[in-house]
Amino acid sequence: MSNATQGFAYEEALLFELSRPGRRGVDLPALDVPDVDAKQLLGEAFRAEPADLPQLSEVDVVRHFTRLSTWNAAVDLGLYPLGSCTMKYNPKINERVARLPGFAWAHPHSPAERVQGLLQLCHELERSLAEISGMDRVSLQPAAGAQGELAGIMMIRAYHEHRGERRHKVLIPDSAHGTNPASAALNGYDVVSVPSGSDGLLHPEAVEEVMADDVAALMITNPNTLGLFETHIGRICEIVHSGGGLVYGDGANLNALLGRGRPGDLGIDVMHFNLHKTFSTPHGGGGPGSGPVGVKSILEPFLPVPVVAQAEDGSLEWDEDRPLTIGRLHGNHGNVGMLVRAHAYILSLGPEGLRRCADMAVLNANYLLARLRGAFHVPYDGAVMHECVLSDRELAATGVTTLDVAKRLIDHGYHPPTIYFPLVVAGALMIEPTESESREGLDRFVETLLDIVREAHEEPEKVRSAPNRTRLARLDETRAARKPVLRWQPEDV
């Protein structure tokens, strides 16, 4: 078999296929204590045969994962306009400081007085996030946005129950991320979908119609997943509040608001932050994320434990003694390595830099929209915030779909936008350029998209068969789901 498909585009088998008996990638010091008979010590619990892991040398392993890595698109390679994911550049200083032994080798069970630097960092980051969002208090514990949502929903439940009320519905606009209904349902709530208006916005009348005394909360994303600011947010919050409900804010799109608007000022009672979106911690091929949750003071008693508290002598400690808490949500203190990176990012930007971040992200999205309007159908036209949503409607006659456009972008070295989401737009292309892109970079992307539109009209098959320049052609997802092969096994097991 050739080493590569073309040039330096490598082929690489699975670890298990590369394995050869007797190889290993690591040696250990000789045992400096008497050896033991594991079988005798462990009895019935002893594992007779080692687990069948591969056997490879260090260089085998290094080449394997280096080659695999070259098959990934990444922010450091180019524009990654995945809508609602905020694929911004992650400054390298974040990585350096996260690896300092005082962070990377610290232990969650060390007594608080011996890890004051980390508690200080948590304390400062909490305060920064509270200030940026206009919330009163923040818990850094949730490990990702969806866990932050769950924390928020649980606090809402605890709040109502503390007031002696049992409410069992949560209102969620039809344009919301799937995690919103999933988080509400995970905590036992019935989900009521609220339709967006013909302008893509949530309207007070639509909320009024479903608001009732068994509604615990409304979950809202602002700016919403169409990239539009929910201009009726003030009135909507009033309606929910006057009906005794609370408003949850999905902070996925907070990047658009930095220094320009604060969810807490809009009437939001509880929200989560996605540190891996807005605050530049790496997306890591699917995490780890970090999803701190911020609350107004009415919800503070219900925050997950422990919380960082200041003792009389000024030192910081963990406060677990909070009778109304929803309890513990993470085995330790959350994805602290991500907190370190986010803190470094906020320190690097300062107040001006944060606002500039939103300004440039919003300018870039509007610039893309202005240049692509006409070539693509814009289902909800107007001034957008950090992202814009287009559709494939204008291409209908060519037989080229959103999926084809996405795959053809790959041929040109671009990670595609988010596709077929939000669900309220048929054939959606959701584009979020972030502030990291220069005008020249955006222009090249626009030219590429315009070329693809031209191609769709002139040579549609070229688009429909894309990607054509990648190591692998389009993958058969139906086949994968019909007869799932979810691990490697030796032939014919």
């Binding site: 098959w71 922010v75 890591g284 699917g286 107040p351 052609a473």
Partner: protein, 432 residues
């Protein structure tokens, strides 16, 4: 660019925000720092934290100090792995997808089960998700939990189940510190037992799964220390239906408790009830092997409120670290490092047996962690260890106060014989 969008000023782009809701003042956060200043600020904060980088570390209790080969960090620092996201676009995410498939394969081999997902947040939430999965499969409302479960895991489980009308009962420990066997009622969805237990004890799970299955329930084994897997009988071989836990020990830094790597494995017959992402093998349009996210109809982005879980972003990069770690250690290396943990812990236990003033709280097998009773009180014993430059373990007063003055001591491959000797002397203290 402003001209193209038809604006005079960047601020005009925000006019869809009603004026009274717009923020105009400067945010009250610290002034911007240059890169060098940020590094100094963070270095100063890092310097104020006790940490395991200097050795002499005997604190575990769910988060473990282990050797991490250099290649792990070198490889996961590659931007293609760090700055990519969930592999929605398979053709340009094969690096991530193949890595997850390799992880799924190795985790199945280690746990003795048939299908593994692409990670949960941590061991605690993985256990909660395992319980929810068992509740869905059995359609029952009761969960039975061994008192050997990590107390934080137990708390997270309670948080996740609160509001769902689920009863959680406890299986107490017997005098040897192992789960007391009791009859399993026929309304129990699952029994959750930790192996090794929070107190370090290795359980003999023989017959356990049969008892639970006879009552129509499922056995969930939470792995207390992933590095015990290469040396202990696979939970799947004991008959476990779901195995969950924390794989931080496989090359992931302790990092003050996160990000770590929750995992969950199960049987193929239950795959449609599993939470989280799954990667499967398929072919491309030219017939070449490739990998994709699959069985997504279980997930929130498709199924919304009927999804098996709300999890979206998981612990991808930690999974990558663990996969690289397992590939480097390999079949023999992983067994050897586990064996060294056992041997060093046994050496420490032997020294404790020989030393007046300290004693092992429980008889029977352990892996790399065990409970030790000290002569006076735990904080004083830990202070004596600190005078020797050693972090001596976890004071068990909060979690298991009934044990008297006791510590949970963890001995990994990083512990050197002289450090173990000094630790035992320090803990024995005045009784020496």
């Amino acid at each position: 660019m402003l001209a193209v969008v038809g604006r005079d000023d960047v601020a005009d782009l925000f006019e869809t925000i009603p004026e009274k809701l717009r923020w105009s003042g400067p945010l009250d956060v610290q002034a911007a720092q240059s890169e060098l200043e940020v590094e100094r600020t963070l270095t100063a904060l890092a310097a104020r934290n006790e940490n395991a980088s200097q050795g002499g570390w005997f604190l575990g209790a769910g988060t473990y100090a282990h050797f991490v080969p250099s290649a792990v960090d070198a490889l996961v620092s590659r931007a293609e792995l760090t700055t990519s996201y969930t592999p929605y676009q398979a053709e340009i995410s094969q690096g991530t997808l193949q890595t997850v498939f390799e992880w799924q394969t190795m985790l199945c081999a280690l746990t003795g089960l048939e299908v593994a997902n692409a990670s949960m947040y941590d061991g605690a939430s993985a256990t909660a998700e395992a319980a929810l999965m068992a509740l869905r499969i059995t359609r029952r409302q009761r969960v039975l939990v061994s008192d050997g479960l990590h107390p934080h895991t137990r708390q997270v489980l309670a948080t996740y189940l609160d509001g769902l009308d689920i009863t959680v009962d406890t299986l107490p420990l017997d005098p040897t510190g192992r789960t007391a066997r009791a009859a399993v009622a026929d309304d129990v969805a699952c029994v959750i037992v930790q192996q090794p237990s929070f107190l370090g004890n290795v359980e003999d799970l023989g017959g356990f799964a049969e008892d639970v299955h006879a009552a129509g329930g499922l056995l969930v084994v939470k792995v207390g220390e992933a590095l015990s897997l290469p040396l202990l009988r696979a939970p799947g071989d004991w008959g476990a239906d779901i195995v969950c836990g924390e794989a931080q020990s496989f090359g992931v830094p302790m990092g003050f408790g996160g990000p770590h790597l929750g995992f969950l494995t199960g049987r193929m017959k239950h795959v449609r009830q599993m939470p989280g992402r799954l990667v499967g093998e398929t072919l491309d349009a030219r017939g070449k092997r490739g990998f994709v996210l699959t069985l997504s109809t279980r997930e929130q982005h498709i199924r919304r409120e009927r999804a098996t879980s709300n999890i979206c972003t998981n612990q991808g990069l930690c999974l990558t670290m663990a996969t690289i770690y397992l590939a480097l250690m390999g079949r023999e290396g992983l067994r050897e490092v586990a064996h060294q943990n056992l041997a060093k812990a046994e050496y420490a236990k032997q020294r404790i047996r020989e030393t007046p003033g300290v004693e092992l709280v429980f008889p029977g097998p352990t892996f790399n962690e065990f409970a030790v009773r000290v002569p006076d009180d735990a904080p004083q014993a830990l202070a004596r260890a600190r005078e020797e430059g050693l972090v001596g373990g976890l004071d068990l007063a909060a979690a298991h106060g009934g044990l008297g003055p006791a510590l949970l001591v963890c001995v990994t491959e990083l512990a050197q014989r002289s450090e173990i000797d000094r630790l035992v002397s320090a803990l024995a203290g005045a009784a020496r």
